[in-house]
């Protein structure tokens, strides 16, 4: 039977990362993936990633996917696509369906990196055509270039629900509402804020009463729920929609491991049924490792580090590196992973209601309840200051592991410090040159360049803009507040789309000066 040092199942962020590290250390590696394109979910992730440089921050997911593929290729990893692993048998035998036949392979070691599957919720009408998973929406629009629908209601305010809502708007869909039964927004505040300011209303403590339609979705009714998740009569709201998108969490796709006889556990902190494993992915079966979401739901950035760890651990298991080298290398990766697992959204904080930032500043209640920071709350955060001339206004109000803005500003206007979860500070006295790099590099699209007083009663606000059509200079329209409501007249004074901005255009609008700290989005009329 054909044998490899290492067989990896799944060519997503963790599988590719594992393959690269293992192959670099001399292992003969093959990665099987059932999809036509490699990269797992990365190729549907069109937003810029969080983290720091070592986590490939501010690079868009699909670009990271391509980078990983190139690295895998360079390292000599064999990536086999359209190859469905149909079973993991005893003696580390992998059976793969490829084209019109099945093939049997043995691995001296195996890494399972199969990722996660979407969770679902039920409501009357949930089987109607038009009710789709958020992943389905991403697949349709970002891989196949087809609109999932025209008018969409999103259920779920976690990062997936927020990111996919934004993506839906980017390809021209109207998101009529973002709904979550939970009383607070579950995902990053910055993701919520960039959706809210385009005018999408958030309905927290609400859920779907029913999907309407005979042959397919024609509408949806939601209602408010009480603390026991029971509907409150009289709070029903109806929307005409053709699509209902479900983003209610992920579960590890661990069936292959269970099939192979791995010891499993149900661990709600990891998202469901997971193999029992150590921090480097070693399972109860000698030589069988896991990496990425299959061993616990986290972000793609963490999955890449977990993959690297498992790849290195497999190299040591097979004698390609010494135990002492293993320990050194893993220690470095431990630090990198630890950096990502800090902050308000760290796995250890799941389920906790956090009231204050690490700096002791009260978290914006509006952000958690409605998806945006209220005007009266914003100025308590250290990135938001008033001063003369153009200066960055950093509306980053939660501790998340991310620091590209600090590196982006060559003038030292933005400071985060060594701890990448700290809130960015607008540095007093630093000299902003209006280059716009901070705006374009902020993965959360939370940085604005503001000139509060241009001397003629107006102010200018430069904001990140990733929509089409791109307004041109002179376009007249409206300024929208953080809540997405029209608050003033606005006129586009410049639109910059530099290569260094990586598809984030910088739109500068002129607004009456009293709206300098309020207007955060532009809408042509």
């Amino acid at each position: 039977m054909k044998r490899y040092d290492l067989i990896i199942v799944g060519a997503g962020p963790s599988g590719l990362s594992a393959g690269i590290e293992a192959a670099k250390r001399g292992l003969k590696v093959v990665i099987f993936d059932e999809n036509e394109k490699p990269g797992g979910q990365l190729f549907k992730q069109i937003h810029k990633f969080f983290g720091s440089k070592e986590h490939r921050a501010k690079v868009r997911g699909f670009v990271i996917g391509q980078q990983l593929l190139d690295e895998a290729d360079e390292a000599g990893v064999e990536v086999v696509l359209n190859a469905t692993v149909i079973g993991l048998y005893q003696d580390k035998e992998v059976v793969v369906k490829r084209g019109g036949e099945i093939e049997h392979f043995k691995g001296n070691a195996i890494i399972i990196a199969t990722g996660a599957a979407e969770n679902m919720v039920t409501f009357p009408g949930w089987t109607l055509p038009g009710v789709i998973g958020a992943g389905a929406a991403q697949t349709m629009m970002n891989l196949h270039g087809v609109l999932p629908g025209k008018k969409v209601l999103m259920l779920g305010s976690g990062n997936v629900g927020l990111v996919v809502s934004f993506q839906l708007e980017q390809c021209g869909c109207e998101v009529v509402a973002l709904v979550d039964a939970a009383p607070r927004v579950g995902g990053y505040g910055v993701h919520a804020a960039k959706v809210a300011r385009t005018g999408v209303p958030f309905y927290l403590s609400h859920t779907i009463v029913k999907a309407e339609g005979e042959e397919c979705v024609t509408g949806v009714t939601i209602a408010e729920v009480d603390s026991k998740f029971q509907f409150i009569p009289g709070t029903e709201k109806h929307f005409d929609v053709d699509t209902i998108c479900l983003a209610v969490g992920l579960s590890p796709m661990s069936q292959l491991l269970k099939m192979a006889g791995c010891k499993m556990e149900d661990n709600p902190k990891r998202g469901g049924q997971v193999p029992i494993c150590d921090e480097y992915g070693r399972t109860s079966l000698p030589g069988v490792f896991v990496a990425g979401d299959v061993s616990g739901i986290e972000e793609a950035s963490s999955a890449m580090i977990e993959g690297r760890m498992a790849g290195i651990a497999a190299a040591e298991y097979l004698g390609y590196i010494e135990k002492k080298d293993l320990d050194t290398e893993l220690a470095a990766l431990d630090l990198a992973l630890d950096g990502l697992r800090q902050g308000m959204f760290a796995p250890k904080n799941r389920g906790k209601a956090i009231e204050q930032t690490e700096e002791g500043i009260a978290i914006s209640e509006n952000l958690l309840l409605h998806g945006y920071v209220a005007d009266e709350e914003i100025e308590r955060f250290p990135g938001v200051t008033r001063r003369s001339g153009v200066h960055p206004v950093i509306e980053c109000t939660q501790n998340i592991p991310c620091n590209p803005c600090q590196d982006a500003c060559r003038k030292g206007c933005i400071s985060i410090g060594a701890n990448i979860t700290s809130l960015p500070i607008a540095v007093e006295g630093a000299d902003c040159i209006n280059c716009g790099m901070c705006v374009a590099s902020c993965s959360g699209q939370a940085i604005f360049l503001v000139d509060e007083d241009c001397g003629d009663g107006t102010a200018t606000v430069t904001l990140p803009y990733e929509f089409l059509p791109l307004p041109v200079e002179g376009t007249k329209g409206k300024g929208l507040g953080r809540d997405g409501k029209v608050i003033c007249d606005a006129e586009v004074v410049s639109v910059k789309s530099l290569k260094a901005f990586d598809k984030t255009s910088l739109l500068t609008m002129r607004v009456p000066k009293e709206y300098a700290m309020k207007a955060r989005f532009f809408k042509a009329v």
């Binding site: 055509p129 789709i132 998973g133 196949h144 042959e215 397919c216």
Partner: protein, 108 residues
Amino acid sequence: MSERIKEHPVLGVQEKGELVKFTFDGKEIEGYEGEPIAAALKAAGVMVHRYTQKEHKPRGIFCAIGRCTDCVMVVNGEPNVRTCITPLAAGMDVRTQYGVSDQPFDEQ
């Protein structure tokens, strides 16, 4: 109904295969070769892929990645084809699936 994204602010203009003809329930429509059958149908505004065996309820795309199997149809005479991961080819005969057949229930 639904349509294609002509240009995307981040992804630009997506590369597609050749525009080919295929039939849906005997009616000729167009799609791009190599894209999933389901994508071509969605772009053409088709929502219902099948009706269920027991309750005769409509189903369409749900997961779009070949897991949920809700989008199965009768393709070139073969039932239960997952259209969301089966590439479109010129001249394909794609039919609504009723239970496991391409015949409506009252004709089965």
